[in-house]
Subunit: 200 residues, 3 copies
């Protein structure tokens, strides 16, 4: 179940990467690479920082297949994406929740401080998109407008608070994901933004 | 022989980095760093992803010497590079072939899946240039125009097909390099490009 | 003492990152991330390249606290920074000296060649700022104008020359830091720049 959600999230991230890259008029290889790094970039960065090498996607060929599939779907349906925007957004939000949890878990497994675990969760969920934007020479969208990463941090805090209640692991994971997913959906519906900080 | 080609490739990559950086009017230190990362960036990224640390160039001081030499040559001859363009292109193409093979080999050595090995070969050969372009705030050239990475992937596929024939290792390596080098030369001569993918 | 300087340096780097990010009109989360990577980016890159994982800031929660403090200070006093420029510059210069030494030391500890150790010191001191500029899509300032990295390299050379004199470690470290700090202060006071290298 958890693994299935990981796959859905990876595919959604790959598609969002491919769509961004096509807007930049890249060639098919460039589009593929952007799709790939959007999907695995956050987890790769996390893995190299904690010394879990070879990094995740090198040890499970299924990630490559899922990303290739997301890439092909994005190319085939690229002219229909206005209609599909809602589903893609939902998948992307599932990815956000699942990837945050995966990052939290890896941090806990090697005994890191809760604050660092939350950082790892946020990194896993958000930095694929940061690398995508850097490769397209844009200031990362999550630094500018969306309260995307803030939701991951919130989810991480909820996770550690709930963890004190000695809940079953499945309940703990499910609740945290649902918090992340529903806050994101509300944030977009009600247009919650962070104000920009201006210097002078 | 193989090591000699590695050195020629590193020097060519360092020179191509230095030339790009000089076009951006960087100072001598900036030019040096760009030359350095163009030469070792791909291999460094590969090494940290597979956990081969300290990364390659830290363990063999010769890389530094070769890159310094490429850097000095690029500065000295920077006004004559139109005449030297053909030789530099040839060296760069040799680098492409050799670096792809080095990446493939490292992946095979630690038992990774062939598809992942091909990804490692492509990463080794192409991501120095990607980091170079990012540091110069350009969308990486290999995502836009040149069928550069595609040739590495093709070379990787040829490698694994030939490997089934139980050839001698030297023959296997030489053939793969020659395929990569000659396809690249033809691609440039006959102006083979990938079309861009447009979104709507 | 050394640890105290490390903290002062990290805080100064976090503040300089936050100020850069506020100039780019990022949201509070974006400003925090830029502050964070400016402070720990160089050390993180060094640690993953030498295989010292989990990377430094994950193992000592104090870094997070110091960076959060620098971030808050930068936001609170952002309208007064013209007056504070001199102190911030001094802290930043202390950071430069201390971080160079930390990088040198890590390289020596694992037996790397002196030239590589100097590269590690320079990387530790300068690449937080490089990543900061890349995330803000600017060509890194140290490649363009300031003789910032050159001073780290010079400091590294002084370090290895002095080391042959069999000095006490504290004297060695203190002298090297003072060289770096005073050359930087003079460089700014007397406006020492590197010329740009132009291609044709």
């Amino acid at each position: 179940m958890f693994h299935l959600l990981d796959i859905i999230g990876s595919m959604a991230f790959a598609m969002s990467g491919a769509l961004t890259a096509m807007n930049k008029k890249l060639d098919p290889f460039g589009v593929f690479i952007i799709a790939f790094v959007t999907a695995v970039g956050g987890g790769t960065l996390r893995d190299i920082m904690i010394g879990r090498t070879p990094v995740g996607w090198m040890r499970d060929i299924n990630y490559v297949y899922v990303i290739v599939m997301g890439y092909i779907l994005a190319i085939l349906f690229r002219k229909k994406f206005d209609k599909l925007r809602a589903s893609l957004f939902l998948f992307d939000t599932i990815g956000l929740g699942v990837f945050t949890l995966i990052g939290l878990e890896k941090g806990i497994n090697i005994g890191l401080h809760p604050v660092i675990c939350i950082a790892l969760g946020t990194l896993t969920a958000c930095f694929g998109g940061v690398i995508r934007d850097i490769l397209c020479t844009e200031i990362p969208v999550i630094f500018r407008r969306e309260i995307y990463a803030t939701i991951c941090i919130l989810g991480g805090i909820v996770f550690f608070l709930l963890r004190k209640l000695d809940l079953d692991n499945d309940v703990l994971y499910l609740t945290t994901s649902l918090v992340i997913i529903s806050v994101r959906l509300m944030a977009v519906k009600f247009k919650w933004y962070l104000p920009t900080l201006e210097h002078k």
